[in-house]
């Protein structure tokens, strides 16, 4: 097989960024959840909230550490893999990344130490503040990186001279047309990812009989969060789609595998898009649905891929990623509402539902990755949409170098991912501190939950 260095550089960057995003997508939401646990404890003095905090802060620390080191890789790979990008768009991308380091990275990294290990060294109030600062820091980080990513998708506020981008209006650059949608969509995704994580792990603990009072409270927190945020996310996603249709019609055409521009376009539920034949085989379609979803009018016009021939993204990958995201979203809505309904009726969650919830521990990862594949693959062949192509900015490393480092990265990441999930399992399988404490202090077991 002929391995094109350009394709290899893309795969390598994709592997790194896919691995990296798994961890911030947990910590961004989990940081706020931890603050919530911490506040509940401070206000109610109910020790279960404190146990919940200590259980989850360990997982937070582990997740954060992997996020930091894999993020470090990213900051170097802009230069090692795409030097042309910084030479051409550095005037815009540089400051945005710089502000991320200055306003977020140091904040998170410094106060994380106090949050994790400083409980006995600072006042309760200072510890709360440190926890809040870490939560704010992770979100600020998301703000800047999504501002940059959105700018690359829908560039604004710049001028180009001799092929180099120059900033003209920073407000327009940061709050570019797709930024509000992308930022909200990703932040909500992070919160849903952590909601399913805490619900899933708690469900698993409940099923294994190692839970305590805290476990049930966490399970409930996760379920309610997911049940509220998932429908909200569907609305935000829909608005984001409208925005994409306006600014990146080729991406939408690929997401829907619409080949010819048409009015009253039908939505292809599943099918096999074929770029050679320029048609979708075995398509199962819902009439008018695509127009309805995308333009909010049954007769709305949707541009087809053939209008962008030679300059549209690979269709099958975008088409399928989009369906994985939608499918996952629907499943999340179903499961979270089902579980929330049980809580509202004051029932305990059935063992079957606990099993479903624990199977969906990493559901957020699947949906988040699929969503990013839609938007990132869907942006190709451009790195800055419509202005700078990815192929123009790649570094000229040999295939051999790239293959070796790629294999190294993939090996390392698989090893880390397996270790991460094993560590989570190990932490989750330890009997609840709260349970042990209740045993010893009251002299009898007080278990809550179906067991």
């Amino acid at each position: 097989m002929d391995l094109d260095p350009f394709v290899l550089a893309r795969i390598q960057f994709a592997a790194n960024i896919s691995f990296h995003i798994l961890f911030p997508s947990i910590t961004i939401g989990l940081a706020w959840v931890l603050l919530y646990f911490r506040l509940r404890f401070t206000l109610s003095k109910d020790q279960a909230w404190e146990y919940a905090y200590y259980f989850w802060v360990k997982i937070f620390a582990l997740t954060f550490a992997i996020g930091v080191v894999s993020g470090l890789t990213m900051s170097f790979q802009f230069g090692t893999n795409w030097p042309g990008f910084m030479e051409r768009a550095g005037n815009i991308a540089g400051p945005l990344l710089g502000y991320e380091v200055l306003t977020a990275f140091f904040l998170e990294a410094s106060f994380l130490g106090i949050m994790l290990f400083g409980k006995s060294r600072v006042s309760n109030r200072m510890h709360l503040i440190a926890t809040a600062i870490v939560a704010i820091g992770t979100s600020i980080s998301g703000f800047w990186i999504l501002a940059l990513n959105s700018w690359m998708q829908t560039p604004a506020g710049f001028i180009i001279e001799d092929g180099v981008f120059f900033a003209q209006d920073w407000t327009q650059i940061i709050f570019n047309p797709s930024f509000p949608y992308r930022f909200l969509h990703m932040m909500t995704a992070c919160f849903i990812t952590s909601a399913f994580l805490i619900a899933g792990v708690s469900a698993w603990r409940t099923r294994s009989g190692v839970d305590g009072p805290a476990t049930r409270m966490v399970l409930k927190t996760g379920v309610i969060m997911a049940a509220v945020l998932t429908p909200l996310q569907i609305v935000i996603g829909d608005l984001h789609g409208l925005n994409t249709l306006e600014h990146q019609p080729a991406k939408i055409a690929a997401m829907e595998a619409i080949w010819e521009t048409e009015r009253g376009a039908s939505f292809t539920l599943i099918g096999l898009p074929d770029e050679e034949a320029r048609k979708t085989h075995f398509a199962i379609k819902i009439p008018y649905a695509a127009s309805l979803i995308l333009t909010h009018s049954a007769e709305g016009e949707v541009k087809g891929l053939n209008e962008f021939e030679g300059a549209h993204p690979p269709v099958a990958m975008v088409f399928w990623s989009f369906r994985v995201m939608l499918g996952m979203g629907a499943l999340m809505l179903l499961v979270s509402w089902w579980a929330a309904f049980q809580f509202i009726r004051g029932r305990d969650i059935t063992r079957a539902l606990l099993l479903v919830l624990s199977a969906m521990t990493f559901a957020g990862w699947v949906a988040t990755l699929a969503g990013w594949y839609v938007t990132e693959v869907g942006r190709q062949p451009w790195i800055v949409y419509g202005l700078l192509s990815s192929a123009d900015v790649v570094a000229d490393h040999s295939s051999a170098t790239l293959t070796n480092t790629l294999l190294g990265y993939i090996g390392l990441y698989l090893f880390l991912l397996v270790s991460y999930i094993q560590a989570l399992r190990y932490l989750a399988s330890k009997p609840a501190q709260s349970l042990i404490l209740l045993h010893t202090s009251d002299g009898q077991a007080t278990t809550v939950g179906p067991n």
């Binding site: 930091v68 550095g90 140091f106």
Partner: protein, 330 residues
């Protein structure tokens, strides 16, 4: 502004990288020393760097970040040329960064594995950084002299980090581990000293630009304080390490401080050697600089946030001052 901003940013970049070498240097050094300690001492050593390592590592992100923001043309060239050592360094930093958490969270059976990963990661990261520094000083050339010089620094930098690590342990530990740290420092000192001397002798030979600057009068006279203060710091280290009683009597900070002084002098010397180049012999910092309005936008950010960052970093070090006890989330 056009003249001032590139100089401002190169100074901030230099400061970040110097802080990185000193701060992450001590926790990388502790990582390299880890296999020499007993199991319970390992826990104390890790505890002594626990609250800090993450923020320490952020300084290299800022350093490289400024290279990227302020000197985008150089950023691409430097990182492309250093692709392999950068990749190796990242592997090392990833391994040690995660080992830190995994060693206590993956179960006792795997603790040994992660201790080893922490050591290996620290060593790989330090060696690669040395290689990068060496390659950078020789102008990113691809020839035998350049590679030999890079290899020389690749072996020297871990020795400096070990000294910083041992110096840190003297501040943060007591008892048997303290005595061990004295022994480790005593062992690493001549290695570091020799490396420092070799590097100082070799640098003018591999770069004529640098030789011209250091050996032409009258500027050479102005530079004398740099080697002199390094020599004095070295002498202090030599004597104080043979008198553990003095160290124990409240002077445990002397070792770390003396090495910090050496790092500072080396950084000043290096800055003098390189300025105004950003890539030696090829590109100066004004050629490499980003557009003035972009630099200005970040300039305000740096002026406001950097002092705040330094302030709260100091606050964190203050919160965790004193001897390290075993790390707990309580």
């Amino acid at each position: 502004m056009e003249q001032f901003l590139p100089i401002f940013f190169v100074a901030v970049m230099g400061l970040s990288l110097l802080l990185y070498v000193i701060l992450d240097g001590f926790d990388l050094g502790v990582g390299i020393l880890l296999p020499l300690a007993s199991d319970s001492e390992k826990d104390t050593m890790i505890a002594s760097i626990g609250p800090f390592w993450d923020a320490n590592e952020t300084w290299i992100v800022l350093g490289v970040g400024i290279l990227l923001i302020a000197f985008p043309k150089a950023h691409g060239i430097v990182l492309t040329a250093l692709y392999i050592p950068v990749t190796l360094m990242l592997f090392g930093l990833i391994l040690r960064g995660v080992a830190f958490d995994f060693r206590v969270k993956a179960g006792d059976r795997r603790k040994q594995l992660w201790n080893r990963a922490f050591f290996v990661g620290s060593l790989i990261a330090s060696t690669s950084q040395g290689w990068m520094l060496g390659a950078y000083i020789t102008g990113l050339q691809r020839n035998a002299t350049s590679h030999t010089f890079a290899a020389l620094i690749a072996f020297s930098l871990p020795a400096l980090y070990v000294m910083l690590g041992a110096g840190w342990l003297l501040i943060k530990t007591e008892g048997l581990l303290f005595d061990k740290a004295v022994r480790w420092a005593r062992f690493a000192l001549p290695v570091m000293g020799l490396a420092l001397v070799l590097v100082s002798i070799a640098t003018p030979f591999v770069s004529h630009d640098i030789a011209d600057r250091w050996f032409s009068l009258p500027s050479a006279i102005g530079l004398i304080p740099i080697p002199v203060s390094c020599f004095i710091a070295f002498l202090i280290l030599h004597f104080v390490l043979r008198k553990p009683d003095v160290l124990r009597a409240g002077y445990h900070w002397v070792v770390f401080t003396a090495i910090t002084l050496i790092c500072l002098m080396a950084a000043l010397g290096l800055a003098y050697s390189i300025y105004p180049y950003i890539i030696i012999g090829r590109m100066d910092l004004f050629e490499a600089a980003a557009a003035t309005n972009s630099l200005q936008f970040v300039f305000y950010g740096v002026v406001v946030t950097l002092p705040v960052i330094l302030l709260y970093s100091a606050f964190v070090f203050r919160v965790f001052r004193g001897k390290a006890t075993t790390l707990s989330y309580e």
